[in-house]
Amino acid sequence: MRVPLFRLGLWLSGLVLVFNGLFPALWILFTSLKTEAELSRIPITYWPDNPTLANYQRAFREAPLARYFLNSVVVAAGATLLCVTVSAMAAYALARLRIPYAGGFLLSLVALAMFPPATLLVPLYQIFTGLGLRNTYLGLILTHAALSLPVAVLVLYSFFKTIPKDLESAALVDGCTRIGALRYVVIPLSGPGVFTAALLAFVNSWDEFLLALTLNPAKEMRTLPVGITLYQGEYLFPWPLISAALVVALVPVALVIALFQERIVAGLTQGALKG
């Protein structure tokens, strides 16, 4: 008797979860299929009266949406790779090696996160213009990686700390170097941690608007958030059009992450089991 009840409870909680996450996304999806006039109707409609794909056509016609998408992918992927690599190295050092200033370093890391990027725009702009990195992928990658560094280091730090030292010591006794131990023992076991840090870095970069607007305003270098806000007019906010662009921006990313996250986490833990 308990099993079907449990199954039902599982289903319900699953539905709650999915609905909680999805309802604004669904709203956006429905809006992308509506016309402007329908949005001013009272009472409001949910499912579009006459679903139309015109907004999607317009979205691609009025702006190089595909190019914006590519830029976002390059920047986000680059920032994620850089951030995870750098933070894994730093987090390992802080968690495992005896460093006198470890606490201070962690604290200053968190302290740097306490300054909203908006307040740092002017000097950042000057730095990157001086280095000639405006309107390049590299400039934005460096900035975004730094943005996610504090939280990534802390997440990985807490993960490395939970890995029993014996496993590592065993590897070292077996003749492995510290870095080898890092690669073959620690990282695979902290699969969830690495995945989380990577996800945090990726989404932070994907979402980021202000720095992307300031550092990469050129048409061919714009990222999605910057490009999508340009569908606006001074007073005009064309929701159906922007919703279509948002769907294009969100759905592929979310699907890829959701579908592959099992594989990524599993792939990382594979190494540990084998080794």
Binding site: Y125, T129, T214, P217
Partner: protein, 420 residues
């Protein structure tokens, strides 16, 4: 050997000479200002001026986003921009911050006045800061009283000349139509620049103003209170506006009016093209345009808008930039903008131009409105002035402050800023 050297030297000189001729200029505009049309305009300039290449930089789609972007670039003293398109409320701030190159040094003394006389009169006040010419108009804009011609005709009304008339007409029509979705007078009440215009309209309509011709603060608590009370009364006493005006953004009113849900709307020029041309517009051919009503004994005045061209103080090609600026602010370019982008020209004579009128017949009705449009206060701390005014009106409309309280705070805030 010597001949080779000489040959190389000559070649180098020629090359550098050719390179020296190549001037690269960068023009900054917003995403909403039709970069495509601007590109065509600049292509013509490039053809006429070989050796000059002009690029467009786009940063942001709204006045706020552009301000965000430009603040970063200009505070960094970046020389990458030569000419910047700025909102009408910015020249005073740009001059004070040292971001704009004064244009006076390029104009011989008498020439400035005759140049400015070509434009709509209000732009003189808006673009001259402390006696210095800071910018020249790109295109004009103003706040119009849009009204439902068909409804007014149905009840035998002519467009109202006073606010009392407007309120009376709205009440009659609302009672007659018995349409729960129809509202009377639409205006901006949320936290946005348009609400500043809402605050100023009744003050102007009563014959007053915030400052005098010398820029000194003359606004009294009584004047401010009357303005706040006026809008509050539209909601609570006359019941010609719904109770949630504190939420209303300009485009919400425009969209609602487009679906036939407002009798009157105080909107900027962009609304017209949507009323007439949007495929889903319920009011095509039913919208009329009128000057702002006044109060008895006052004057009709509406809010001046529009965008201006200015030269960046950090530009490395100021002389060339000035030449480009004169071209961009010329009747020729204004006509192109009127034909291709439906922008209101800053030159009164273009409102009578047959080509322009054929493309935009409503410009004939628009002319009297732009002629008596007034500039918002011209002051380097305008953003703070605007903030004080719009928050006050917004609080009154949300009923979190009484008109007396809000008026007192507004005037006190202004006195602090004006140092009086």
């Amino acid at each position: 050997m010597v001949r080779l050297l000489v040959g190389v030297l000559v070649a180098l000189l020629l090359a550098s000479g050719a390179l020296a001729q190549q001037v690269k200029l960068r023009v900054f505009i917003g995403g909403q200002q039709r970069p495509d049309v601007m590109r065509k305009i600049l292509d013509v300039y490039e053809q006429r001026n070989p050796g000059v290449k002009v690029e467009i930089e786009v940063g942001g789609a709204t006045s706020d986003q552009q301000q965000q972007y430009l603040t970063t670039v200009l505070t960094s003293r970046d020389p990458s921009l030569d000419i910047i398109l700025i909102d009408i409320i910015r020249p005073a701030q740009y001059k004070a911050a040292g971001w704009s190159e004064p244009l006076d040094r390029y104009l011989p003394l008498g020439a400035r006045d005759s140049l400015l006389r070509q434009y709509l009169p209000a732009y003189v006040r808006a673009n001259i800061v402390d006696g210095t010419l800071v910018a020249l108009p790109a295109f004009a804009d103003a706040q119009f009283l849009f009204y439902r011609k068909d409804l007014l005709d149905k009840y035998g009304f002519k467009p109202p000349t006073t606010w009392d008339e407007a309120i009376g007409q709205a009440q009659t029509i609302l009672q007659g139509e018995r349409n729960p979705n129809l509202n009377g007078i639409g205006f901006m009440g949320n936290i946005s620049e348009g609400t500043v215009c809402s605050f100023l309209l009744p003050i102007w309509a009563a014959g007053g103003d915030v400052t005098d011709e010398r820029g000194r603060l003359v606004l009294t608590e009584d004047m401010a209170r009357r303005s706040l009370q006026f809008w509050l009364d539209l909601m609570d006493r006359h019941r010609v506006s719904p109770p949630n005006m504190a939420e209303k953004a300009q485009d919400t009113i425009r969209r609602e009016m487009q679906q036939g849900r407002w009798i009157f709307g105080t909107l900027f020029a962009y609304a017209w093209a949507h009323f007439q041309n949007d495929p889903d517009s319920q009011v095509k051919g039913k919208i009329g345009v009128a000057v702002m009503p006044r109060f008895e004994g006052g004057r009709s005045a509406s809010c001046l808008g529009g965008w201006q061209w200015t030269i960046s103080n950090f530009s490395r090609n100021k002389a060339q930039a000035y030449r480009l600026l004169r071209y961009l602010s010329s009747p020729e370019v204004a006509k192109v903008l009127a034909l291709e982008a439906s922008n209101l020209p800053a030159f009164p004579e273009l409102y009578r131009d047959p080509d322009v009128l054929r493309a935009n017949p409503w410009f004939a009705d628009a002319l009297p409105v732009v002629l008596n449009a007034r500039a918002r206060p011209v002051h380097p701390r305008y953003p703070e002035i605007a903030d004080v005014m719009r928050r006050g009106l917004n609080a009154v409309l949300a009923r979190t402050k009484t008109p007396e309280q809000a008026a007192r705070e507004i005037v006190q805030g202004l006195r602090t800023i004006y140092g009086q």
